[in-house]
Each structure stands twice: as structure tokens, then as C-alpha cells.
Amino acid sequence: MIELNRVSRSFTVGDQQVGALRDIDLSIAAGDYVSIMGPSGSGKSTLLNLIGLLDRPSSGTYKLDGGDVTALSDEQQARVRSEKIGFVFQSFHLVPRLTAAMNIELPLILAGISPAERKARVEKLLENYGLTDRADHRPDQLSGGQRQRVAIARATIMHPAVLLADEPTGNLDQTTGKEVMNLLEQLVEQNVTLILVTHDPVIGGRAHRQIHMVDGQITGENKSSAEL
């Protein structure tokens, strides 16, 4: 599904080149549940952004679904993001002026899907996530857990194959965080590939594969059959 081959990413800070990622080799199978852990500044978010096509590697190749996506144009990459990748962010990133339903609908609107189908899909998802009575609330009228549920609904409404979550529980209390993790893990059961970035070993430990990063390099990997 995802194949990274000697991928590096460096930033220019002042007149110095700083390597955020160094020669990453990583392959993730479809339906995998992977957590990327490491201290801050270890490059785990950069890696996630690369996988999500929000960023381009300085060198190396990235194959998604067998096709090389490194060389795609911006527009082609945007299309891949729209069709195959869903994002869940630590700070939810909901559009403040839009209601919960409209936030969920956003990817469908951008993809030019007909209003009738949009409405049906949004309603179904609102129901699945227990948000039907919150549909017309704006983000500032929702609790943290509800916001993240809206964000997850939005990330999954295009039926992506890959779900990328960057510290999805970082802004939530422990109970709500667990609820959100349960939601994400249920998606894995439906064969969605979930890649999770976290610095919390408890959260990260739940993944089937745990990748540890330090200083832009993968330093180790655990496989576990942790509870699901």
C-alpha cells in the first residue's frame, strides 16, 4: 500500500540544511494499524505529512497503491488526497463558520459530488457518529470530543483507504481520547489503513505496529497483538 524508499526531507534554516527525515525505508500494508512515536522534533509529523502528500520529499521515492506519487503535479496530488487520504488533526481544524454537517460535507463539495448524494452520505455519517442532534451546531458550540468526531466523520466521508491522524487525542481529556481511539480503531476493522502519530506510549501501544523515531530516523519497530 505505502512504500517509502530512502526518503529524506531537509529544510533550509538560515544558511544551514537541517535534515528532518533521513533515509526512511518504510512499507505499510493495506489495513495496517501503525503508530509512529518519538520525542518532539523527531520528524514523525514530517513523515506523516509526506505520506499525506502535503509535503514532498527532498529525495527518495514514495509509492502509494503501487504508483509513484512523488512526481505527481500539485493538482494530481490534490486529487489523490481527495480520493485516498483522510486527515485527523490534533486541533480538529473545523471551519468555524460552518455547521457540523457542513464541515463533514466539505470534502464532497470540493470533489463536486451532487447535492442529493452529499445529503444522504452526511446524514448517514452523522447518525453513525451519534451527531444527528448536533448537525446544525457550529464548532464553538460543540465539546472537544464532538469536534473530533466531526473531524473524523469529515476525514472518512470520501471513503479513503488511508487515514492519517496527527495526535488525534492531544487536545482531549483521557476519557474522550479513549472514545476517539475506539472510533478510529473501528475503522481499522473495516480495512482502513490507520497511521497514527503520537508521543503518548499508551495510545501508541495500541497499534499493531509501533515505529519509533529519533532525529529523523527510524530507530526501532515493535509488533504487538495489543487489544483491539
Partner: protein
């Protein structure tokens, strides 16, 4: 493990199947673009209102100012046509500055136009009727009352040629141009001053050293191109010549048969005068059309200039839009990052910002039109004689400029938004 509440209540995520979507992914629909743009405009009402205000003031300024210019133009055109239609005017002397002619060296003044000259003009088939004019001033008196008046000597056809109308009684009688009947027609104000509420028609008045019988009163027409018909005394042209002891005409007004033969009438008049004056071109023939066209050109140019100046305010509004759009881009940087993460290509984000600017300009120009037309209507109420109405080209140009500048000045902010790095934008940098 504690299962979360919304799962426990029976919502089963498994119902949400993750089969690849069959829906055709295409470009964002236009209606959705418009809706999204209007949504973000509503999201910051104060900013939107201010920008719309700037736009609508610009459009309203163009509409009102061109309406005024157009009103002035139409006012002049109306004044000219109230003077008579298809008019050709013959006046003595050349207005050309062709240097010294042989006549001037001999101390001659240009030959005058005689009554026979005027009569001869009727030979042209393009000429419908003529009205010779002699003008002068004399003292008009009745009993002890007297005042200085402008006396116009002419013929019965003047009424038709100059589009005058008679109020009471009759105009000058038709007949021989050389006959110096002692009758006169008075302007309405003169009648009032001399006769008050008394019956004027049939009474005798003294004009200079001659007595005239009043046969008619002109209808009150107000001012027409600088000549107040209300303060005019009209007598037969031959009588006027005797009164002023002259034989030359001040003007000959010619009414052509139709608009098409105005040029023909002008050429004929020149030809006839040329022959009668022994092969000398010593008269000037002008057409009212030519004068009118000149005025028309000048006033249209003036209207356009005024409109152009007003449209500068539209450019200023455009700069304002750009400024506020740039602020909006940095305020909504996270949203732009999110749209990119959700799969919006750069082009789409650019279009969203264009749509916002276009919508803003469209609503702005619409309210500007309302404002402008209301303003024109108010001016029309205050100055009823001025036919105030904005010309269609100015309305089109104002709206076009508003839309154009709105979109043009949003190019830079929109490109800036489209080029944002998604990672940095999501982080709010």
C-alpha cells in the same frame, strides 16, 4: 475497556462501508463555489459591508455624474429642437477668416441680404418655407406707459419655422413679403405690462414713430435659446425695415422639407445667394444639425470624462478589496491549509477567492445602481427641467469596471492563497 457512549447507544460504524466511492469526482460545482464564497462573506459581515459600500459608492458616483452629463446634453438638444426642426440659417457675411478680400480693401461691408434674396430661396425644391428675420429695438408705448422692447420683423411662416404658438388672436397675416401692414404680435409679458387685465387684441400701440394694431398674443413659452419670446414684439418684416430704416435682413431661417434634404437645402441656398450676389460668396449658411452635432459631441465627451473621473473611485474600491482580501487570506490561513488537505487543488482555492471578489463586486454594483438611480431621481425632482437619466453605456461601464477591478485586484490575494504551503498553512504560519 470502557466503550464510549455513542457506540453503546447502538450506532454501528460498520454500517459505514468503505467500498471505493463510485461517485465521479469532478471539479467543484459552480453553485457550490458561489455558496461557499457567500458563506465566507457572511462569515465576516463588517468587512463585507465595508467593501460593498466602497464598491457601491463608486458605481453610484458614475451613474449619478453621467446622468447629470447626459441630462445636460439632452437639455441642449431639446432646446435646439424647440427652436425648429430641419433648420438651415442664412446670415450675411463670411465668417471665414480668409484674409482681406478685394471688397474689404475698398472699404465695403458685406452685401446685405434683401427681402427678394430671401424670397428667391423658395425656388429650391428642398426648401419647405422660409422666415426672414430683422431684429432691432424700439420704444413701445401705450398712453403714458412705455418701455424698450426687442422688435422682430418677420413673416407669417415664422410661427411654423420657429415652433412658436399663439395664445390669443392671430399671428402675422400671410401675404406679400413687401407689404408693411401696421399690425403686431406681442409677447405675453409685454401684454401684461401694457394692458394688465384689459383686452389687448384690437388695441393700438405706438412703436417708435408708427402706430400698430395688436392682432395676437404669443403663448407663454419661457426662454428659448436666449430669446425670451415673452418680451418680444413681432411685426411684418417690411414694417420693421421701415421702422429701423434698413433694407438688410439679420437672418433668413429656412425649414427644409425633411431631414434628408437639409444638406441639399444648404447647397441650394448657397448657390442661389451666390448667383444673386454676382458670383460672390458673401453669406454664411449653417445648418442647425451641424451646430447641434457639435454641442452633442462636446457634451457627450464631457459626460464620458466625468464618468471616467468617477470610475477612479472604482479603482480605489478595487485597491481596498485587494487589501482586505490579503488580510482575509492571512486570517483564514488554517482554513486554506485544511482545504488543501481535503484535496482542493490550487486552482480551486484561487477560484474560491475569485468568486468571493466577484460576488462582492456584483452585489456592490447592484446596490450602487440602486443608489445611483435613486440619486438621479432625486436630482430630477430638484431640477425638473433637466432630463436626468444615466446613459446605458455608463451603467454597463460602471458595472463592468466594478466587476473587473474586483476580480483583477483579487488576483494577487487569490494566488497567494493558492500557493500557500499546506503544512505551514495548517500550522497557521
Amino acid at each position: 475497556m470502557r466503550r464510549c457512549e455513542f457506540i453503546r447507544t447502538g450506532h454501528d460504524l460498520r454500517a459505514n462501508e468503505f467500498a471505493p466511492t463510485n461517485a465521479v469526482i469532478s471539479a467543484m460545482k459552480l453553485i457550490d463555489i458561489v455558496q461557499f464564497a457567500s458563506g465566507s462573506l457572511r462569515g465576516s459581515p463588517a468587512r463585507t459591508l465595508l467593501m460593498m459600500l466602497a464598491m457601491s459608492i463608486g458605481v453610484a458616483a458614475v451613474v449619478v455624474l453621467t446622468a447629470l452629463g447626459e441630462g445636460a446634453r439632452r437639455y441642449v438638444v431639446n432646446q435646439f429642437s424647440s427652436l425648429g426642426t430641419n433648420l438651415v440659417i442664412v446670415l450675411p457675411g463670411r465668417t471665414e477668416t480668409a484674409g482681406l478680400g478685394p471688397g474689404m480693401l475698398l472699404g465695403q461691408v458685406p452685401r446685405e441680404i434683401s427681402l427678394d434674396d430671401a424670397d428667391a430661396l423658395l425656388r429650391s425644391r428642398a426648401v419647405k418655407r422660409i422666415a426672414p428675420l430683422t431684429i432691432g429695438s424700439a420704444t413701445l408705448s401705450r398712453d403714458a406707459l412705455n418701455r424698450e422692447v426687442v422688435v422682430l420683423g418677420s413673416t407669417s411662416d415664422l410661427l411654423e419655422v420657429r415652433h412658436m404658438s399663439i395664445g390669443i388672436g392671430k399671428f402675422l397675416p400671410p401675404g406679400d413679403i413687401h407689404e408693411s401692414a401696421s399690425v403686431c404680435v406681442l409677447g405675453n409679458q409685454i401684454r401684461r405690462e401694457l394692458f394688465g387685465n384689459e383686452q389687448a387684441v384690437g388695441q393700438w400701440v405706438r412703436l417708435g414713430d408708427r402706430r400698430f394694431r395688436v392682432i395676437g398674443i404669443l403663448a407663454s413659452q419661457g426662454e428659448s435659446m436666449g430669446m425670451r419670446t415673452d418680451e418680444l414684439v413681432i411685426v411684418p418684416v417690411a414694417s420693421a425695415h421701415q421702422l429701423f430704416n434698413t433694407s438688410g435682413l439679420f437672418r433668413v431661417l429656412i425649414e427644409a422639407n425633411s431631414r434628408e434634404v437639409i444638406e441639399q437645402a444648404k447647397r441650394d441656398a448657397e448657390q442661389i445667394m451666390f448667383q444673386r450676389h454676382g458670383g460672390e460668396k458673401d453669406v454664411t449658411v449653417i445648418t442647425q444639425d451641424a451646430v447641434l452635432a457639435t454641442f452633442d459631441r462636446i457634451l457627450t465627451a464631457l459626460t464620458m470624462a466625468v464618468g471616467g473621473i468617477a470610475s477612479i473611485s472604482l479603482a480605489v474600491a478595487g485597491v481596498l478589496i485587494m487589501n482586505v482580501m490579503l488580510i482575509a487570506v492571512s486570517q483564514r490561513i488554517k482554513e486554506i491549509g485544511l482545504l488543501k488537505a481535503l484535496g482542493a487543488p490550487a486552482k480551486q482555492i484561487r477560484n474560491l477567492f475569485f468568486a468571493e471578489a466577484a460576488l462582492l463586486s456584483a452585489i456592490g454594483s447592484a446596490s450602487g445602481l440602486v443608489l445611483g438611480y435613486t440619486g438621479s431621481a432625486i436630482i430630477g425632482q430638484i431640477y425638473p427641467s433637466l432630463p436626468v437619466s444615466p446613459p446605458w453605456w455608463a451603467v454597463l461601464a460602471a458595472c463592468g469596471t466594478a466587476l473587473g477591478t474586483g476580480i483583477l485586484f483579487s488576483v494577487w490575494p487569490a494566488r497567494r492563497a493558492a500557493r500557500l504551503d499546506p503544512v505551514a498553512a495548517l500550522a497557521g504560519r
